[in-house]
Amino acid sequence: MAPKKVEPKKPEPKKPEPKKEEAPAPAPVPETPKEPELDLKSVPLEFTADQIEEFRDAFTLFDETPTGEMKIRYAQCGDVMRALGHNPTNADVLTVLGKPKAEDMNTKYLDFETFLPMLQHVSRTKDQGTFEDFVEGLRVFDKEGNGTVMGAELRHVLATLGEKMTEDEVDRLMAGQEDANGCINYTSFIKHILSG
């Protein structure tokens, strides 16, 4: 199954209604590649009116302000983008946010109008890595060479390497993936992740 395409259309729109729902706060990763400061003002918006309406609905769903100000915390920015079908890395998200400090992530807010150009920027960036890349990557941990990796090892990798995931994130990701021996067929695992 092919990885999800980067069309910002997938999520079905729903009526705006503020909800108390816990959104996973991505752990801020300070490391950032060297690249020129991003000027979001220069990003032309290419979304259709329908799309924008969709985004607004989703955005509203994340709005946790008590009075419904149509604002989200910095930390939620990545989640909204991802909910809308994109797969930015944490580093990507921090770049479009203008590399805020770690402590600002949960205290600073941004509104929908600020969010749109960010989303536009992210939607233009191509996803890193293909299905084949991921298979290659996980094959490294395939000690037996039988197409499976130890679940524990995969947990360890995801939680300690790269942009480390929290234990809770890893738990949710791997729920129901391990077989009786604690092994995971990584090809189907990757397919499963790429299809969602």
Partner: protein
């Protein structure tokens, strides 16, 4: 078992630890020199020209020169079992690896051909029966590093290839050479006896092991002394040869010793001791025995310079008892034991003989002959003859005997020489007895396994003749190692079909060895020393001058720059530069014993003394046991012609070493390097500089240097592909491809310099460091992929959470709607009526339900009946089958009994065959003897005939 595994196996969980991996590749970890730890880890922050700014673990930043930095290995190599596999082969990494393993309780580590072992200074549970079982018949790479693995490999090679084996243990004193030597014997005793899983072979192995262990305290008492560094330092090297028959059983053992430093019995430094036995004897001998041995107080003996120096945790009198017991067990009788002690007492007493120079005369005299009387009493010789032999010995000059008066110096020298020679002969006599006890069977072994336990390279503050000898030995041993390694490497390259001109690194050591042992053109150090000994006016300084003149241009020779002393010279050994102090080398090299004294002793009234001095005509010195054993049987009359022949200590040394080397060259050597971790005898502590020094001296680093010249890292294709395919994923087409082809494509894709790798038939070879680079690239690539995958995973999670949120929203709306509807319905009269009437409707349906249930019951009953019938049938069948099985079993039983009977017959026949074979052996031996005798007769006959003819 799990407790034990801890000391053998690596905890593999974190070998691939992502954290360490990420740390290593992102932080650019390296090693920089450290005062305290030898090397410490640091991460590179900035590089400018030749200088590098690094950050230490504690956050401090330091600038070091680029040359001082040594690369760190990727974490994959942590605590690796064979250090030859390290991709960054440098001192820091080797030290780090050994240290990390040592801290984890892993004391054995391979380094290519070497097995390096660090003295744990505590008992480890890794020598148990279970462990022995575990190592039995395993290949080296199948089990964790262990002395047992080394031994087992040697043993199997001996059996399979019919090649004699040797295990060479070297190291500083206190590093555990002897301990590991014992483990080797222990292991062999178990493995070689359970060879066929049968016990009715003689219980010889257990006995032999016991005897070898009992031989040890005796050898230690007479051959060990307390030195500055080690309370129980062996002052001799030994080669224990265990003989095996064709089937791999132990048939006997033989111990040869080398280079006993007899000079220890005449002088020692302040806090050092002479050989243990003197202290045991003087402290332990009581009452009658004390009188018989004419013992005195410690302070009375000039040869025990520092008096009664105590050894910690050791009571000399208790040790005396133990030594005597050990002697008894090994078959020394009462007379022999007293005889041995008498010799020791004599050696001490010799030190008390004092000479005076007569006024106006060169001649020496002995004003007080009390000590001499004691000596003569102990040795059963005439005191007047003895005094004459020392003061006015007779020499042969031009075929006539001439009496020559001796100066005080000459007399003193003669006494010391006598003391040393006497002790040396005693030691060799003891050894001969021990060997007689160990050589149980007369049968010739088919092959042997030798264990060499000899001091390693020595660099002291003051290096004398003894150090030259031991370092010379180590040069030779290192050459053997280099040569062996060269042969093996060459084989490996050939096997893999790789073209590579490997240099024989054994030749590297040749210049230094030549400098020492070359007989002429130009003569080497030993030859020059011998030459100087013939010149009456020569001194140590003139020797060094001659040496300097001859070898000033030799690449391994130099004069120390800052030393004003003229008797110093420097030799560049493979392990480092050593400044030798040639003071008193001429004397050390000579050690001549005048015939007058030896003749006296060999005619002593004591049979024991006679026995010791039996072979008068042999030259006294550091001869090997083998020679002594041979001369025992050879007719003593035959050697008359050699009378007056005089060989130097250096010559004898060279000879005995030559013999040892010949033996070793004819074996397949296995190298064990023992390392002392600290001088405090503390467990779990590593003195980094001390260990580095030893690694340098014992050739481990030298071995690594050699490795680096070739392609030290080898990976089989499959592994290479598995680990690094990620770097060249696109290069390999989908579907099957054989390892070699795939690896070739991969390495091409990676764009490596062709000089950095070679592709063999089953492995790919890399120069040192290349793998580290691949490893780094792999890490970066892997991290990229993981990050991308994590992004996908986060997207996946977010969308799942989002859709859940949406569903919840929908659900909520449904509930809201229903609530609203309910609110409107609640007061509608029709609805209320409906809710009232609804329960009543249920009653009419009850009959219907009843009928349905009954039908179901009926069906269930039918099914039950059917199953019952089936069960009956199956049970019947089962019974039938069981009966058949019983019949077959009975038949089997009968067959087995028949088999056992014929097996018994076979065993009996075999035993008979064995007996007959032994008889045959004997007869053959007798035949040989007869033939020999007949030959002798023939010879005689021929002689007689000739005589007849002449007449």
């Amino acid at each position: 078992m799990s407790v034990v595994n801890e000391f053998l196996f690596l905890d593999n969980d974190f070998k691939n630890s992502g954290v360490a991996q990420a740390d290593w590749s992102t932080k650019k970890m390296v090693w920089i020199p450290s005062e305290r730890e030898g090397f410490q880890s640091a991460s590179i922050k900035e590089e400018t020209g030749n200088e590098v700014v690094v950050e230490l673990d504690n956050g401090k930043k330091v600038t070091v020169s680029k040359d001082e930095i040594q690369k760190m290995n990727p974490p994959k190599y942590n605590k690796v079992e064979d250090m030859a596999a390290l991709t960054c082969l440098n001192e820091a990494s080797v030290l780090h690896n050994i240290r990390e393993r040592y801290f984890s309780g892993l004391i054995y580590t391979y380094s290519g051909l070497f097995c390096v072992v660090v003295n744990p200074y505590k008992l480890l549970p890794i020598y148990s029966e279970k462990i022995t079982e575990m190592y039995k018949g395993k290949k080296r790479h199948e089990v964790p590093p262990h002395i047992y693995a080394v031994t087992d490999n040697a043993y199997r090679n001996m059996l399979q290839e019919r090649e004699d084996q040797s295990i060479l243990c070297t190291g500083e004193s206190g590093a555990g050479k002897t301990e590991n030597t014992k483990k080797v014997i222990q292991y062999l005793a178990v493995v070689a006896s359970s060879h066929k899983g049968k016990r009715h072979h003689y219980s010889l192995t257990g006995e032999l092991e016991k005897q070898l262990l009992q031989a040890n305290p005796i050898l230690e008492a007479f051959g060990n002394a307390k030195t500055i560094k080690n309370d129980n330092s062996s002052r001799f090297g030994k080669f224990i040869q265990i003989n095996f028959d064709n089937t791999g059983y132990i048939v006997g053992a033989n111990i040869e010793t080398y280079l006993l430093e007899t000079s220890w019995c005449i002088r020692q430094a302040k806090i050092e001791r002479s050989f243990h036995i003197f202290y045991y004897m003087v402290t332990g001998a009581k009452d009658k025995m004390r009188d018989e041995l004419l013992l005195e107080d410690f302070s009375n003996y000039r040869f025990l310079v520092a008096g009664h120096v105590q050894v910690q945790n050791q009571q000399d009198d208790e040790m005396f008892e133990e030594t005597l017991e050990a002697m008894e067990v090994l078959g020394f009788n009462e007379e022999e034991r007293i005889g041995m002690l008498k010799v020791c007492s004599t050696v001490l007493q010799l030190g008390n003989i004092e000479f005076k120079a007569e006024k106006n005369q060169e001649q020496a005299s002995m004003p007080d002959n009390t000590a001499a009387q004691k000596v003569c009493h102990l040795q059963g010789i005439n005191v007047t003859d003895f005094t004459k032999a020392i003061l006015t010995p007779r020499f042969k000059v031009g075929g006539e005997l001439v009496q020559k008066a001796q100066t005080k110096e000459q007399a003193d020298f003669a006494i010391e020489a006598l003391a040393k020679a006497m002790y040396d002969r005693l030691f060799r006599w003891i050894l001969a007895c021990v060997n007689k006890a160990l050589d149980k069977t007369k049968r010739q072994g088919a092959s042997f396994l030798g264990i060499l336990d000899i001091a390693g390279f020595e660099i002291f503050e003051d290096n004398s003749f003894e150090q030259l000898c031991i370092n010379y030995t180590n040069e030779k041993l290192q050459q053997l190692f280099n040569h062996t390694m060269f042969i093996l490497e060459q084989e490996e390259y050939k096997k893999e079909g790789i073209e590579w001109n490997f240099i024989d690194f054994g030749l590297d050591l040749q210049p230094c060895i030549e400098l020492i042992e070359r007989p002429n053109n130009p003569p080497g150090i030993l030859a020059l020393l011998d030459e100087e000994c013939w010149f009456p006016k020569a001194t140590d300084v003139s020797f060094v001058e001659k040496l300097t003149n001859t070898h000033s241009s030799h690449c391994k020779f130099s004069k120390p720059k800052n030393l004003k002393e003229k008797a110093f010279f420097t030799v560049q050994h493979y392990a480092g530069k050593v400044d030798y102090n040639a003071t008193s080398w001429l004397t050390k090299n000579m050690d001549p014993l005048n015939d007058n004294v030896t003749a006296l002793l060999s005619n002593s009234s004591s049979a024991f003394v006679q026995d010791i001095w039996k072979d008068v005509d042999r030259v006294v010195g550091l001869e090997t046991m083998a020679k002594m054993a041979k001369s025992d049987s050879a007719a003593p009359t035959a050697s008359k012609s050699k009378k007056g022949m005089f060989r130097t200590v250096g010559q004898l040394y060279k000879e005995s070493l030559g013999k040892l080397m010949t033996t070793l060259h004819n074996t397949q050597p296995n190298f064990v390097r023992c390392i002392i971790p600290n001088h405090e005898k503390r467990a779990g502590k590593i003195d980094a500089h001390l260990v580095l020094e030893q690694l340098r001296c014992n050739g481990v680093l030298e071995g690594i240097r050699i490795c680096r010249q070739g392609f030290p890292n080898r990976i089989v294709f499959h592994e290479f592909r598995q680990r690094y395919e990620i770097l060249a994923a696109r290069a390999i087409p989908k579907g099957f491809m054989d390892g070699k082809q795939a690896s070739t494509l991969m390495i091409k894709h990676l764009d490596s310099d062709p000089n950095l790798y070679r592709i063999g038939l089953s492995k790919i070879f890399f120069r040192t460091g290349v793998l580290a680079q691949l490893e780094e690239e792999r890490d970066l690539k892997l991290t990229d992929i993981i990050i991308a995958f994590q992004a996908q995973a986060r997207g996946f999670l977010s969308r799942k959470a989002f859709s859940k949120k949406q569903k919840q929203l929908t659900a909520m709306k449904v509930i809201q709607k229903n609530c609203a509807v309910y609110l409107t319905l609640k007061n509608w009269q029709w609805w209320r009526l409906f809710t009232k009437v609804k329960p009543l409707l249920q009653v009419t349906r009850q009959d219907e339900e009843m009928n349905q249930k009954e039908e179901e019951l009926h069906k269930a009953k039918e099914i039950a009946q059917k199953s019952e019938a089936e069960l009956k049938e199956i049970t019947q069948k089962h019974n039938q089958v069981v009966e058949e099985r019983n019949q077959l079993q009975a038949k089997l039983q009968e067959e087995a009994e028949l088999y056992a009977e014929s097996e018994e017959v076979r065993i009996r026949l075999e035993a008979k065959k064995q007996e007959l074979e032994e008889v045959l052996h004997e007869i053959e031996a007798r035949l040989e003897e007869e033939e020999e005798r007949s030959q002798v007769f023939q010879q005689e006959k021929a002689n007689l005939q000739q005589q007849l003819k002449v007449e």
